[in-house]
């Protein structure tokens, strides 16, 4: 094959190829050597990152190409389905390019961080193998140009999340959390797979479609033949702002017309799908498919009601949490929604506040999740769980944004969130590391990683001591770099006005909701939920940070905490009073390995902190800074071109106020007078024990699932109340009772099978008789005769090679003589 791998059309293959290759190398070759495995893994993702940057640069600076119209990508034949050929391929459109800016970079940072974080773990090499596979799955999903390949990447990540959450499999809780994550997402994935299959089937039934397809372009962008009204005039031109503005205006006009009887640029498959009725619920096919796909995302992106797996996923090593929460797994759900947005919004005219079923469902789920998860986050003591709920809540923001049609804002928030959430998670990992270190130092009890088992019979979430923010405090003196970077991440998450990335993307979502709130009730509902969620977000972020880093240590572990390298000089001017007596700033012996390990953990934090600030500046509203490069770049991705809403100062002021209010509230409760050792948490004190316990038990949703969803199944397989058919004659007390499932299996199904088996067994017996007497008799006769002949004939075989040669020579002579006679 004559492929120029520097051609941007082929580059995406390489991007996903390198991490997968590293996985293979690590699993097959280098798994004995930790250093080699780390090098291979980091090298693989590093190469991917470089290629992604290249590709991104190319997408941005390629001027002769309208990327939305004419993507980078290539395809190859995958499989033949009946008369059709299913083609698999990669495609890079602006959305993918934007994702490629984030995913490999975040993954690379996580990999580097992991090298430091996982030091000394016996299964280190395998960890990096899984991590590479995870990254490979996410990149596959990102660059895939069809739903099936996307689903493969999706499932690969599902497997990796399972094996990585349960990575410390000697911990029962970790194992259970892995299973929980796997099963929960699997439930959702089944719906999603059904949706994909239904979509595939439906595309085949539409007139003008030669091949049933799952390709995004074919589904949502490419106009069906014959339906194009103005194919020569692309809907959107890239690169020329004026033309853009014109096109935008024009398109807005188009959009208004477009939901009349005719389309401006023609009909796509998705448009056709809205006209087909689904067999269920009396909705259109597009709606049904959209809902099914949405369920997939609800599982993957941990939306209510399938959000319960995500907090438990904190049992995995912290880099894994960062990977799941920021770079890869949960992003995938939102990414898929953005990608499929034209399908989800098919038939809706959301520019004019007319939403369809899917969007309303999506918006409701997102809004409920956003507010519910932020309420739960307030009541958590585990630093990682707080972040987990915050992730759920932020993802709720994105889903809600999609529900009201603001998909650019959703994508924008997705990327920003990935950066600051990866930062926060890794910073929390750094905190935990420091706390573990402190614990060992405080107790001098040996092991590198002390794993804390969850005691049995505890309904309330068990919080491992190093994770517990109630045991922290004053850590800013021990791990200043982490404290500062985490503060940056936290501010970004809280949406600190004007300077943080989180502010701009969140503000955009709120502005979109605000824009609709005046005209329709649905956006108003979303807006209220989101605003309240934002307030709580700012509050719990402040709580987490102040509890962790502020004040004085509330345990010995916190007093001795550290990453092994103490940067004293950073702290000296910071808080002299704390230095003086309370904080035990012991001068420990620091090895070069410790220092390296600490650097490996702190370097990614710095990089991501930078991004958590500056990644937002590309998406500031055009009316404020004159040009919104992100919108210009992303807009042509989907056929549904976003209409830039007019700038409105009110929502912006509102969101500023809310963020400051939340942070200020947190400071009032936790910062002004830090919580001392033994003191009750101010929120707990305010809410009272009942409400606090409600929060700590996650509103009893998990317990509800366990009792009412798992309970019947458990009864089904374990309640031994049924006597098997053979046992019924026996007296009651001698009967062996089995569970209902066993009864169905052994009593009913086995009986049927036994009966069928006996029929075939009798048939076989007859065949055997026939065979023995008639057929064998004939065959044996022939064989015996041949055997007799052979016994007679084998006497010529003496085993003497020279005698054989004599025969050969005789034959040779005969042939030679014949030949000579013939020639003569």
């Amino acid at each position: 094959m004559d492929v120029n791998w520097f051609n941007a059309n082929y580059l995406p293959w390489l991007i996903l190829f390198f991490p997968l290759l590293s996985t293979a190398i690590i699993m097959l070759a280098t798994n004995r050597s930790v250093v080699a495995s780390q090098a291979v893994a980091a090298g693989g993702i590093g190469l991917s990152w470089v290629l992604s940057l290249l590709l991104f640069a190319k997408t941005v600076w390629t001027t002769d190409k309208a990327l939305g119209q004419d993507i980078f990508g290539s395809q190859l034949d995958w499989m033949d389905i009946g008369p059709y050929t299913f083609r698999m391929g990669v495609a890079v459109d602006p959305l993918t390019a934007y994702m490629l800016l984030m995913v490999p970079l975040a993954c690379l940072m996580i990999f580097i961080y992991s090298i430091g974080y996982m030091r000394g773990d016996p299964k280190n090499a395998r960890f990096f193998g899984y991590l590479s596979l995870f990254a490979g799955g996410m990149l596959t999903l990102t660059v895939a140009d069809n739903l099936l390949l996307l689903f493969i990447g999706w499932e690969v990540m599902g497997f990796c999340s399972y094996s990585l959450i349960g990575f410390w499999a000697h911990k029962k809780s970790a194992m259970e959390a892995g299973v929980k994550a796997f099963m929960t997402t699997r439930v959702a994935d089944v719906f999603m797979l059904v949706g994909i299959g239904y979509l595939f089937v439906m595309t085949g039934t539409i007139d003008g479609v030669a091949n049933p397809t799952l390709n995004f372009r074919d589904l949502m962008y490419n106009v069906l033949p014959g339906s194009a009204i103005d194919a020569d005039n692309p809907a959107y031109e890239v690169g020329d702002p004026e033309a853009e503005a014109d096109a935008e205006g024009e398109h807005a006009a188009d959009a208004e017309e477009s939901h009349g009887d005719e389309h401006a640029v023609g009909t796509t498959i998705v448009d056709k799908l809205t006209e087909v009725d689904a067999p269920l619920f009396g909705v259109s096919a597009a709606t049904l498919i959209g809902i099914l796909l949405l369920i997939g995302t609800v599982g993957k992106s941990a939306q209510f009601p399938l959000h319960t797996w995500l907090p438990d996923a904190m049992e995995g090593p912290t880099p894994v949490s960062a990977m799941i929460h920021a770079a890869a797994m949960v992003s995938a759900g939102v990414y898929m929604l953005v990608r499929m947005f034209p399908l989800l919004s098919a038939g809706a005219d959301f520019h004019n506040f007319d939403y369809n079923t899917t969007m309303i469902l999506m918006g409701t789920i997102g809004a409920v999740t956003a507010i519910g998860a932020s309420i739960l986050a307030v009541g958590q003591n585990d630093i990682k769980r707080i972040l987990a709920y915050s992730t759920i809540s932020q993802l709720g923001y994105m889903v809600a944004a999609l529900g009201i049609g603001a998909w650019v804002a959703a994508a924008f928030h997705l990327i920003n969130h990935a950066f600051f959430k990866a930062l926060l998670f890794m910073a929390s990992g750094s905190v935990i590391h420091a706390m573990e270190h402190g614990e060992h130092h405080a107790h001098e009890d040996g092991h590198e990683h002390a794993h804390h088992e969850k005691p049995d019979g505890l309904i309330m979430d068990y919080c491992a001591p190093p994770n517990n923010i109630q045991r922290m405090g004053g850590l800013i003196h021990r791990i200043p770099v982490t404290a500062i970077t985490m503060a940056i991440g936290g501010l970004s998450l809280a949406g600190f006005p004007l300077i943080t990335a989180g502010f701009w993307s969140k503000d955009e979502i709120i502005a979109e909701a605000w824009h609709g709130a005046g005209s329709a009730p649905f956006p108003a509902f979303v807006l209220i939920c989101l605003l309240f969620g934002a307030l709580l977000t700012a509050f719990y972020t402040a709580r987490m940070w102040f509890m962790t880093f502020w004040g004085t240590p509330r345990s010995d572990a916190a007093a001795y905490a550290g990453l092994g390298s103490l940067r004293k000089q950073w702290v000296v001017f910071w808080n002299r009073r704390a230095m003086s007596k309370d904080t035990k700033l012991t001068q420990e012996p620091i090895t070069a390995r410790d220092r390296l390990s600490a650097n490996q953990m702190e370097f990614p934090l710095a990089v991501l902190a930078f991004l958590a600030i500056f990644a937002g500046f590309i998406g500031i509203h055009a009316d404020l800074v004159g040009k919104n490069p992100l919108h210009d770049f992303l807009a042509p991705t989907l056929l549904h071109h976003p209409v830039a809403i007019d700038f409105d100062i009110l929502p912006m002021l509102f969101s500023m106020a809310i963020a400051l209010l939340g942070i200020g509230g947190g400071w009032l409760l936790y910062g002004r007078k830090p919580v001392e050792k033994g003191e009750t948490d101010p929120v707990e004190a305010q809410l009272g024990p009942q409400a606090w316990s409600l929060l700590q038990n996650r509103l009893y949703i998990d317990i509800f699932y366990r009792k009412y969803l798992l309970g019947p199944v458990e009864w089904f397989v374990s309640a031994e109340k049924w006597a098997l058919p053979g046992e019924e004659e026996k007296p009651e007390d001698e009967q062996i009772k089995v569970s209902l499932s066993d009864y169905i299996d052994k009593g009913i199904i086995d009986d049927i099978l036994h009966w069928i088996a006996s029929v075939f067994s009798n048939l076989g017996e007859f065949c055997k008789r026939f065979n023995t007497v008639v057929i064998d008799g004939f065959i044996d006769g022939v064989v015996y005769k041949i055997g007799d002949f052979a016994r007679w004939f084998r006497q010529t075989q003496t085993g003497r090679v020279q005698q054989y040669l004599l025969f050969v020579t005789l034959a040779l002579l005969a042939i030679g003589t014949l030949l000579i006679i013939q020639v003569r």
């Binding site: 084998r794 006497q795 075989q797 003496t798 085993g799 003497r800 090679v801 020279q802 040669l805 004599l806 020579t809």
Partner: protein, 103 residues
Amino acid sequence: MVPLWLYLAVAAALFSIGMFGVLTRRNAIAILMSIELMLNAVNINLVAFWRYQENPANLSGQVFAIFVFVVAAAEAAVGLALIISIYRNRQSVIAEDVDVMKW
């Protein structure tokens, strides 16, 4: 130049001698030696025909002779290894004694 047929006659004689050895010697090593004689007879033919063609720049004869060398070397190595192996197992190098492959 010596006429071609003399070479051919010598080769024929050498081949027949080798064949006689192969058919009649009892010792396996002697058989191997006789085979070498036969191969040499073939080589004489090849080279003689090469020399007496009109265009000796066509080197096929020599090349084939070289391949015969290779085959002979391989055959000698494997053959002797076989003989030594047989001797180890059966304490005999007489070809007739090795007749387990009969019926």
